[in-house]
Symmetry: C2
Subunit: 206 residues, 2 copies
């Protein structure tokens, strides 16, 4: 029976300073030693591929309990110089609150602005491109943007997430009308005051 190594790699998105960021780790071992790469690792014998993605994410970065979706499987024979490795790529969306953690097999887990990435190991640049495209498309017909926000948020924060992902400015009034039509937002009797006029907080209704 023919056999290959199978890995998972996860593109972890968040929003920092109103810009789309993603999580990279610096490789300690060869190949691509010292280069940045997506968190990921080998699928174990008795776990599903989905479970492997959850586990690797937690082990390498400390991120857990987040939105995680399978992206695409990359299976070019030469994509890993060590030999035949097929990777199942995922992407995750996390609110800007979770703490990162470094472990022995992956140090320097850090956020990078999606528009200003360093050179990546393996074919990870291509995986990131695929993930960004998927995220952009998904935003148009789902409420996936909420996964990038804390439980309570202002409409301006929500809008700036959409703008960060789409890369274009949106009209404030049109955005508010549309998002409230499709997303069932619950206005809270709470306001965030960040210096200027306080902004009302909302919650995503279940």
């Amino acid at each position: 029976m023919n056999s290959c190594a199978v890995t998972v790699d996860v593109v972890v998105f968040t929003i920092l300073e109103r810009k789309l960021h993603l999580l990279l780790i610096r490789r300690l071992g060869k190949p691509f030693q010292g280069r940045f790469a997506l968190p990921g690792g080998f699928v174990l014998e008795n776990e599903s591929v989905d479970d492997a993605a959850v586990r690797e994410l937690r082990e390498e970065t400390g991120v857990h309990d987040v939105y995680l979706e399978q992206l695409y499987t990359f299976g070019e024979p030469k994509r890993d110089p060590r030999g035949r490795v097929i990777t199942v790529a995922y992407y995750a969306l996390i609110p800007p609150t979770q703490d990162l953690r470094s472990t022995t097999d992956a140090s320097d887990a850090a956020w990078f602005a999606a528009d200003d990435l360093p050179s990546l190991a393996f074919d990870h640049a291509r995986i990131v491109d695929t993930a960004r495209t998927r995220l952009r498309n998904k935003l148009a017909y789902t409420n996936v943007g909420f996964e990038l926000l804390p439980e309570k948020f202002t409409l301006t924060e929500l809008q700036s997430i959409h703008e960060a992902i789409l890369g274009t400015p949106l009209d404030k009034r049109n955005f508010r009308r549309q998002i409230q039509q499709r997303a069932a937002l619950e206005p809270l009797q709470a306001w965030r005051n960040t210096g200027r006029k306080p902004a009302q907080l909302f919650r995503f209704k279940v």
Copy 2:
């Protein structure tokens, strides 16, 4: 280095008698001996996963040079009773002209109406569901329907493909207006006469 068997499976769609059909093969060996399954097989050492899908499709069914797109990767540990097998699923769209072929490791390749499938081996029923959903969604924003037609076709044929995939009847005038807006159809000076009033043939403009 950890290691799993990796297969590809392909959901091959076509339209027969104005209904969505897909291609199944009867399994000769164990497990699920005698049951129907999707065409597929193991990924070889020196081919990409995409190439494996193309090769298996050709080997098992004779189908070649068709629209083929990666669908999803299924990696539950127990999905194959023989052991750990991860499968990368694809779907293909073929015009109703290609001849089928049977080989030694897969006999009885045959078309089944998508709404009237036999019980399938492994988790292939789930893969088929995933493929049908993807195809339905994709129809809304791409011209993927053309892949199911021969080079020259009538607008009624094109409409009936959309109806077969979506499962709902469409308005003839609205359909024609919309499809000609987004698809760049070239009307040909040729008509198909199937008994009644001849219908004009069209071609998908490159």
